[in-house]
Symmetry: C2
Subunit: 192 residues, 2 copies
DNA sequence: CGGTCTCTTGACGGAGTTCAAAGCTAGTGG
DNA sequence: CCACTAGCTTTGAACTCCGTCAAGAGACCG
């Protein structure tokens, strides 16, 4: 809870009273490895913040059954299907624990109420939304612009703390590359 | 201006007085074919709504000088670098008119003021943001999941009104495919 | 008409996939 | 403490999708 508040205070100011109110809106939840936070077709009822652990969001390729990774999220990240949560409509994604994960959650109704009681949070969540949007835009352009090897090394640079916690085949899927090819890239550059 | 207001009223309610206030915040602007709305390195000072015309947002591949299309936008769409506009920081994209384009614009300061005077608009712009975010997420997963041919036909289905107004090589770049390959796809399926 | 912009076509090559098998590694239970 | 399993990574060989280059064919516009 403290790291969440710290995260928020990096972007907006909250009074001590607001912080107390804030804390009461959230509940803790634990997912064991392999457990689902959300399944394709369900509505995302909670906004979830990761205290510790790793989650993956993906959808299933209907042709070959492969998982296509939308995002990988670790400690101090949000892991919510924003479209599904904000419109309370069915999600097309699955979100699943890669390892045991501790969350802080808030339901959709409570979320609205919280924003009314602590208006500064409107700004915080807008900032989060916009910065996520910026990374998505970059990812799209980047995907078209660079080759597998460059994408892979850029990922290593940008998300070193994810790399050390998830298997390579998930990173491969995130990047739209085959796991085997990442293996070959690594082999090629072992000297360095 | 009327189509913009119609667009907004599809998502939130505005009183007649609010609509009057709203109109006063916006100014008209015309871009000739080839003119830039924004250049890489500049800050995006205006939020821009397209009354009529076509814009492309892209960045330049430093290796071969190619344009990598981030988005193509036509009548009744927004065409703003949201990250750059909301943080008032330098943009990494270019936005340029594909044909003569009429815009409605509002500066960053005025935008903030407008939101204060017409609070319902907070909701409207959040909805726009979230739905754009949803399309970006889908585009990422889709790009990794499908082959060139499927991506191309999906684009034809999803954005028929863009297809009829921009050259094929821009659509190719948007999809991360070569223009030549799209030509081959079309040839292959000419019978249908 | 002549020039510019866009689309098409062909030949070739390369980046990356697929499939199957083998090698690792870490955890688990006996 | 060792053996076994399950999950992950590596490797090899064949294959394919798609990009690149270069040239030509339309199409549009002054």
């Amino acid at each position: 809870m403290e790291t969440l508040i710290k995260n928020i205070l990096q972007h907006v100011r909250l009074s001590p009273e607001e912080i107390v109110i804030f804390k009461n809106f959230w509940t803790e939840k634990t997912l064991e490895k392999g457990e689902f936070l959300l399944r394709n077709g369900e509505t995302c009822r909670y906004d979830s913040y990761i205290v510790s652990g790793v989650l993956k969001a993906f959808c299933i390729n209907s042709e070959n059954g492969n998982e296509e990774i939308l995002f990988l999220a670790i400690d101090d990240w949000w892991a919510t299907d924003i479209s599904s949560f904000s419109k309370q409509k069915a999600s097309i994604y699955n979100i699943q624990a890669v390892e045991k994960t501790n969350l802080l959650q808030i339901g959709h109704q409570s979320f609205q109420k919280m924003l009314q009681e602590i208006p500064s949070l409107e700004r915080y969540f807008r900032i989060i939304l916009e910065s996520y949007l910026g990374t998505l835009e970059k990812r799209i352009v980047f995907n078209n612009m660079y080759k597998a090897e460059q994408k892979y090394y850029d990922f290593l640079d940008t998300y070193p703390d994810i790399v050390s916690r998830v298997p390579q085949y998930l990173i491969a899927s995130y990047l739209g590359i085959s796991a085997e090819f990442i293996s070959r890239i690594r082999k090629k550059n072992k000297s360095s």
